[in-house]
Symmetry: C2
Subunit: 150 residues, 2 copies
DNA sequence: CTGCAATCTCAACCTAACTTGAGGTCAAGC
DNA sequence: GCTTGACCTCAAGTTAGGTTGAGATTGCAG
């Protein structure tokens, strides 16, 4: 049952692009950024493991959740070097992402509720609305948009 | 009760920057992008209305919600030309923003739930997980990450 | 062996959203 | 009336995340 590495287990960049939906140039770009490290063929062409598809998919998802490539790299760095990531490797990362997601959702929900409150109170026409009149966001002279923006 | 425009009702760019927390250069940049249109003093210096503070605050909030400056410009274009925006002017815009917010929250919540399901099912180690193995995101050969990414 | 599509590298370009710098002007206090 | 800080314009630089193009190889099919 030893996993032998047949040539057919390695994928070309075009194949990887097709399967992930990424462009070939984006994949090369990610390699530059060290998000992925394919091996090379005799003729210097990139060869990817099947597990790299998951890695790239993770990048797509994480980006969608608002992480920068730098942050994504930090997450991916948690994956084992040398061996194909296991379920629990990915689980740990998923949990980290989930936490971020929770924070982001809470933040947006809070903002929405404040926006609702603001619309409801009709204070938009006045000069003291905490949301719309943040004259001192950086100052210390009273309430400001910090309420909404922080 | 006619609102007279005393010189003291106009603010310099430095003052506006201080009150909004924006940098002077960012404010000038927004003028370039036609997000705001200050008048000029005799000596060609920018002079802002007090209502411009709200306008700039709106930009900050909308950006925070993920709108691009171009999209923000489109929203601001709904405000009246020539007169200071009223409460209901701002309300209409708030409602539009709120709708976007709802969509975004729903999207993130959906993603989170799928992520949860995926962690729970333990399928990460397998080759058929709809979330983690989107081999055909752009293809038409079956379920893929579309479930998560769309 | 030949042809041609897929790859390769490297440099340049792109959009968004600003910042920085150079060189010059304005205005308020002493 | 002079100094100093706030302003002005315009050009160029910056970071993120890629794309595009040129010119040279590679690798599979016939």
């Amino acid at each position: 049952m030893t996993a032998r590495l047949k040539p057919s287990d390695l994928l070309s960049i075009g194949e990887i692009a097709r399967r992930t939906g990424l462009s070939v140039s984006a994949i090369r770009f990610y390699e530059d950024k060290r998000l992925i490290e394919p091996v090379r063929s005799g003729g210097n062409q990139r060869r990817f493991l099947r597990s790299d598809i998951r890695r790239l998919s993770f990048i797509l998802i994480a980006q969608r959740l608002g992480l920068s490539l730098t942050e994504i790299e930090a997450e991916l760095a948690k994956l084992p070097q040398g061996r194909t990531p296991t379920a629990s490797d990915w689980e740990a990362i998923s949990a980290a992402i989930r936490a971020r997601l929770d924070v982001r959702i809470a933040e947006l929900t809070r903002t929405r509720d404040r926006l609702d409150g603001c619309i409801g109170c009709g204070c938009l026409s006045l000069t003291h609305c905490a949301i719309w009149n943040p004259e001192d966001r950086l100052g210390a002279e009273g309430p400001g948009a910090r309420k909404l923006l922080d």
